[in-house]
């Protein structure tokens, strides 16, 4: 018997026929069916080609305004709803590192589909890293080969993005610098991975930097949009 890591209720799972027949040890789900059921996945064909939000048109209004980085597109896996907010709060702010495993399979599958030459997790400040003990994005990508191509300029975060309003977020200056020689990125297909896409400011700063370093194509993947 295991319990759901989020709601702490008993996690009874129905075995699938495949699990019964393939004689492999069953890896228990970390979240219960009820919590998983609250996720709102965004499928590729109903998403904005720019930021990955759920949107009927090809580009949403926000992305029509983002002319600065024309060759960037982001894919978001889920809507940033109440369940994911609870999830991120427990994972990031309380620091429950066990939760990294919940979306690892899903993200891994998604990353493979990009066929990228380089996979870059968005870095966090050394001070946050020290305090939290882990980078939440690197946690998702634990089983994937990644490159630490970016570092933050500041050692300490001045003000968290989540504490700003939209205008303030959009005015945020470039927080990253390259960590590697720009030759590394020359003519490469690069995938940047982050946890949440909100205004797109952070991931687009990273994308600009990589494009100016000579990357051929820069794509984004985030767990959630909202």
């Amino acid at each position: 018997m295991s319990e759901c890591l989020l709601c702490h209720r008993e996690n009874l799972q129905q075995l699938t026929l495949w699990q019964l027949l393939n004689f492999q040890p069953v890896v228990p789900d970390l979240l219960c069916q009820e919590c998983m059921g609250q996720l709102e996945p965004i499928s590729v064909d109903e998403a904005c080609s720019g930021c990955g939000r759920k949107c009927a048109a090809q580009f949403c209004n926000d992305c029509l305004l983002w002319k600065a980085v024309p060759n960037f597109s982001n894919r978001a896996l889920f809507q940033y709803n109440d369940l994911l907010k609870r999830f991120m709060s427990q994972y990031k702010f309380y620091g429950d590192y066990r939760l990294r495993k919940v979306f690892q399979d899903k993200i891994e599958r998604e990353v493979r589909q990009f066929h990228a030459d380089l996979v870059l997790p968005i870095p966090i400040n050394p001070a946050t890293q020290q305090h939290r003990g882990f980078n939440q994005v690197a946690g998702f990508l634990e089983r994937i080969e990644t490159v630490d191509g970016l570092v933050t300029r500041d050692r300490v975060k001045q003000q968290p993005q989540s504490g700003k309003n939209r205008q303030e977020r959009l005015r945020t200056e470039q927080p990253f610098t390259l960590n590697l020689n720009s030759k590394k990125f020359n003519k490469k297909r690069v995938l940047i991975v982050d946890d949440i896409y909100t205004t797109g400011r952070t991931i687009r700063h990273a994308a600009e930097l990589l494009q100016s370093a000579g990357a051929n194509e820069v794509m984004g993947l985030t767990l959630a949009h909202g």
Partner: protein, 447 residues
């Protein structure tokens, strides 16, 4: 750091310093003990297979108590020994002037003795017995000796109801109320009222620690909180558990003579507990989806409404609230009804309206099972056979009726699709204490 923030507390930090005079007394304990296979949290006492909670660097964290700030193995727990910087008093700080019944008085004396002797003890008193008042003598004596006292409960509602009563009883003693949603900061006070989670922040602080409603969620289900209670009191301190419905575990400790118990099987007004009447329904949930009330429930409610009786109606789940409300409203148009559940933003407001009589009925989940008193109400449970109602919960729910001396009687009706073991045990427990009270001559004595 201010020294009085550390007296009897345990604070998580890498480094910490206090004024030089106190520096040598500073206690530094490891946050976790790491063995070959396990990581053992020194704050909540829980043992975790260490590879499941390893951070990228050689560090481990505790996944049980992270809501009070994550315990990571590369930090330390800092504290200062409790110095009891409270003045000893010669005159009593007790401003309560009420009278105890002889049975209450006997329990009260026992409790006072336990507090003085620094033992662990259980007070098993029925719902509505007047448990808080029985503590006053013991607390008074402890405060006069300059001891540090805490009263903790798993439920924040219980804490919030206790605090003003204690403040009124001990007006001259500064107190602090600690819980997760509190606004202010922690302060060093002689009398602490807190949720049991807050005990995780204390280390050998209290000479007297009382845990009210010890069988309530989450205390009963969380061994980490039991550990916290043991660690929050001084090694020589007294620990008193209060409940009307002790868990099997507590009852077992009593049988094994590891725990002493005082019983009070009668309410202070000397009337027996209202006994549970069970009526069977047929698939009540399906009936509700067809927009009808189960016939038995409808009949009873009609009777209550025509007699102008106010009532609490318990349902198993939050989603049953809306279903029941939408069926009740058209059936009883004149009735002032509200529903309430744990996540309801107007929860306090609705409970208050029920208290003052602005509402005729409150449809609720188990959140109102304990710690609340309404005058002159009847109690109904629909779906009493649901697994969310434990025996203890059912006894507590039944205990909402007839609590006031002016209205010592009330109807307790359970509707269920089948008679379950929990229902039978609840009925049995109530009959058992009533018989016990009868035998001891506690019924009908003082009115």
């Amino acid at each position: 750091m201010q020294t009085n923030q550390l007296f009897g507390r345990q604070v998580l930090a890498d480094k910490l310093s206090v004024e030089t005079a106190w520096q040598p007394k500073l206690i530094r304990r490891p946050t976790m003990i790491i063995t070959g296979q396990w990581a053992i949290c020194q704050r909540c006492g829980q043992r975790i297979a260490k590879q499941t909670v390893q951070l990228p660097q050689e560090a481990y964290y505790c996944p049980h108590c992270f809501q009070l700030g994550r315990v990571t193995s590369n930090q330390w727990l800092w504290s200062l020994p409790e110095p009891n910087l409270f003045s000893k008093r010669t005159e009593s700080p007790l401003s309560w002037t009420g009278q105890l019944t002889p049975a209450q008085n006997a329990c009260s004396q026992q409790i006072n003795h336990i507090f003085g002797a620094g033992k662990t003890h259980l007070l098993w008193a029925v719902t509505g017995a007047g448990k808080t008042e029985m503590l006053f003598l013991g607390i008074e004596q402890a405060l006069m000796k300059g001891l540090r006292v805490a009263i903790a409960s798993p439920r924040v509602d219980v804490c919030l109801e206790l605090a003003p009563r204690l403040q009124a009883a001990f007006t001259s003693i500064p107190q602090i109320v600690l819980h997760g949603e509190m606004k202010g900061d922690y302060e060093y006070r002689q009398l602490t009222i807190c949720t049991t989670h807050q005990l995780l922040r204390f280390y050998h602080a209290f000479d007297v620690l009382v845990i009210d409603e010890v069988d309530a969620f989450p205390f009963a289900a969380d061994p980490g909180l039991n550990f916290a209670a043991e660690q929050a009191k001084k090694e020589t301190g007294a620990l008193l558990y209060l409940t009307a419905t002790p868990s099997k575990e507590l009852q077992r400790l009593e049988r094994q003579h590891k725990l002493t118990v005082s019983y009070l099987p009668a309410r202070y007004h000397g009337y027996p507990l209202p006994e549970i009447k069970v009526k069977l329904t047929r698939r009540w949930r399906q009936t509700l989806t067809k927009n009808r009330l189960p016939t038995a429930v409808k009949g009873l409610l009609k009777q209550l409404v025509s007699n102008h009786r106010r009532f609490l109606l318990f349902v198993p789940h939050v989603k049953d609230l809306a279903a029941l409300e939408s069926v009740l409203k058209p059936q009883f148009p004149g009735l002032k009804l509200a529903t309430v559940h744990a996540g309801d933003p107007d929860r306090q407001d609705k409970v208050q309206k029920m208290r003052t009589g602005e509402l005729d009925g409150l449809v609720t989940t188990t959140i109102l099972e304990r710690g609340v008193t309404f005058t002159n109400i009847d109690v109904i449970v629909v779906g009493a056979d649901d697994a969310v109602f434990s025996t203890a919960a059912l006894v507590q729910i039944a205990g909402r009726a007839g609590r006031k001396a002016a209205y010592p009687k009330g109807l307790v009706a359970f509707f269920a699709d089948s008679q379950t073991k929990t229902i039978k045990e609840a009925r049995h427990q109530i009959r058992f204490v009533n018989r016990k009270a009868q035998r001891e001559g506690l019924l009908g004595g003082y009115k």
